[in-house]
Amino acid sequence: MQENKVLLRATDIDKQFGITHAVDHVSIDFYSHEIHALIGENGSGKSTFTNMLTGIYTLGGGSFALENKTIQVKNQVSANRLGIAIIVQEMGTLSGLTVAENIFLGEEDPFIHNGVKNTAAMNKKAQDLLDSYGFSRIRANAIIDTYNFEDRKLVEIVKSTYFDPKVLVVDETTTALNHSGRVELFKHMRRLRDLGSCVIFISHDLDEVLEMSDRVSVLRDGEYIDTVNAKDVTTDDLKKLMVGRELGEHYYRTDYGEKIPEEVAMKVENVSVGNEIHNISFELHKGEILGIGGLSECGMHEVGKACFGASFDRTGSVTLADGTQINDINTAINHSIAYASKDRDNESLLINDSIMDNITLPSMRDMGKVLSIKKLHEFADKFAKEMSTKMVNVDQFVSELSGGNKQKVVLARWIGKGSDILILDSPTRGIDIKVKADIYALMDKMRKEGKSILMISEELPELMGMSDRILIMKEGEISGEFLRDPQITDTALIEKMI
């Protein structure tokens, strides 16, 4: 390894969202010539930290110094000019623009002469770049929307590395890429390192982290824990640092070989929704946790919506044990179906409303025509407390809660409603480990009470740990089914996904 000097120094970086302390006075030194991994559980503050570095969020406190000069980053363009680039977790390209326009977003000036943009020159430059990266099949003058998620990620790689940034943040990009895409990404990460840059690499895949990085910094609940040399540690060491304790044995369900009850609670037949899912059929039994897994674009999230009557243009049927057809949300709610969406802030909750309103909305119809504010208050309070939601009182707005507590409000709503069939889409997404354990315990308890749970999840350990049965989906269809078994491996599931 070459001689290291501090390239980027983060001092006392801080950020709060309402009462949530997302990043708590974090100081880390990043060296030149290194790939520096940043790891931690969901919600540990990794993305918030790098988002402040790259100007996506405003700095809550502290300062970043690049080559000993304190930097003021206003937005992503100003970050780019300073030599800091990011490849984000979600879609980082803008729809409706061409590939070239995306690559040179905010840097159009060199192509503008006397106020007129030379599109041809821009396209040519972009195509040259794409060719040099080996992505010739992506055309610079095409509208970005003509490419799929993965190709758009490749465009993002070009966009954020062509100018050889001093600092490159790679935020959970690898999950969106297939093998060859990853190889390309890793190649450019290494190239930048060899040029003397620093690559800040965020990933959940610890093997990948150890393979790629020189040093690893660990965050937990927004706090800085430690920085270690990648070659001195194992993935187990990293896990311990991330969680702060040895993972208990009773995190997931421990029972195996229990018989799934025969009684069917919900029957899904030949359900299709547009291009998202095709001819999905399955049965959800009473007292069972049925897991659905797959890559995030495989259509499994739409299955949850379809079963809740929330899909537009659905064909096929969703039938309950008593013969009721579920075609709209109201029928679903009235027949004891609950739904927690993956999009917690927009679908599961009204975040700009009080905890009380959020919990009581679907249950109001059972409380008579004339409502008593006091009763509503007591109702909300009871179920919020039952879920041990961390809050000031039920009049507090949901927007002020952390991800985990928001999810508790969602669950409180449906437990209050007394739903028997729960469709939980990514129930622990972005939730810290303690609340996660609470939610798993609750799911197990409800299962034993004879409730049926349809759990849609992108996390394999969760699927394997909690489900009685697992359905794997691929390109909108069910591609495999597994029964609960300690012998199931990640690889077996992944094989069915891709």
Partner: protein
């Protein structure tokens, strides 16, 4: 960060601020008019100008709570008032009912265009404002539409006051003690979230537009009692007065969970008081408009619920 930041999200402060503003306005105009504004005669006059505005504001209040807007209320009032006056010559009750029906019909047109044709409510009601202003002018080209002259005997304070209070109490009851109000607020807070909580969003939105038409159609009857005839400018600028009133009362213009029913009452009283005060101080019409405009901008800025980030519809 120098100085202490006033937290306008604090519900108590939000509730108190319009009241403080109202008191301040009373004191200010009392001093400026040397007490003339609070003489019993003057107060009674102000009240008589308030009834119609107060009732019509209820419907718009519901609409804004859902995060929608309605700029057509003035023209709607004009057309409904024409219907009410015209038919009151045959039968008083027929007049009331026809006013309400016409209001409901126009509300239904607004609601249909916005909800089912999916055009932003702002654009829809701007268009129907012009459309129905045209209808009002067409119907009054030759002569104003006269109402049954016997209606004049209803123009007394006890009757008007009773009707207004009944309207407010009924509306308050439904807003606060039935799921109606909670549903409207939920739609205003997040339409998508409301849909997933089992609220029939499209149906509710459409019906609230019809309801607002019904309410303003009824307010047209109150207006007819007072003016006894409709000219081409009947109901002109009512929508602006309602909007300024609601905002003065502390209503966030994007609706949602922070809306309170008291916004209507305080806001409309405050607006009437300010409008009268500006006249009595002796300002020209232009100056009055200027000052009202400034107050409006300041209040909207103060009470905007920026955190919700929702696009104004």
């Amino acid at each position: 960060m120098a100085g202490k930041k006033i937290d306008l999200d604090n519900p108590r402060l939000r509730a108190a601020l319009p009241l403080i503003g109202f008191l301040f306005m009373i004191v200010l105009f009392t001093i400026l008019t040397k007490g003339a504004i609070i003489t019993p005669n003057n107060l009674q006059l102000q009240l008589s100008q308030m009834y119609m505005l107060m009732i019509a504001a209820i419907g718009v209040f519901f609409i804004i709570t859902m995060g929608c807007l309605d700029f057509s209320q003035g023209s709607l009032m004009g057309v409904a008032c024409i219907a009410c006056c015209y038919f009151s010559n045959k039968n008083l009750f027929l007049g009331i009912i026809m006013g309400i029906l016409v209001g409901a019909a126009i509300g239904a047109i607004n609601g249909w265009l916005h909800v089912f044709m999916q055009i932003p409510s702002f654009i829809v009601t701007m268009s129907t404002q012009f459309l129905f202003r045209g209808v009002v002018q067409f119907c009054t080209t030759k002569a104003p539409v006269m109402a049954n002259i016997s209606m004049m005997k209803l123009a007394n304070m006890p009757f008007m006051m009773t009707v207004t209070v009944i309207c407010l109490v009924v509306a308050f009851f439904f807003f606060r003690y039935t799921s109606f109000g909670a549903n409207l607020k939920a739609i205003g807070a997040s339409e998508r979230g409301a849909r997933f909580a089992g609220i029939k969003v499209t149906k509710t939105k459409f019906l609230v537009y019809v309801l607002a038409g019904v309410i303003t159609g009824f307010a047209a009857f109150i207006n007819a009692i007072k003016v006894l005839s409709v000219t081409s400018t009947g109901g002109n600028q009512l929508e602006t007065q309602i909007l300024i009133g609601l905002v003065l009362g502390g209503m966030p213009i994007s609706g949602g969970a922070k809306v309170r029913f008291s916004n209507i009452v305080i806001g409309v009283l405050m607006y009437r008081f300010m409008a009268t005060g500006l006249v009595m101080v002796g300002l020209t019409t232009q100056m009055q408009q200027l000052i009202q405009g400034i107050v409006f901008v300041v209040m909207v800025t103060l009470f905007s619920d920026r955190k919700s980030l929702a696009v104004i519809k």
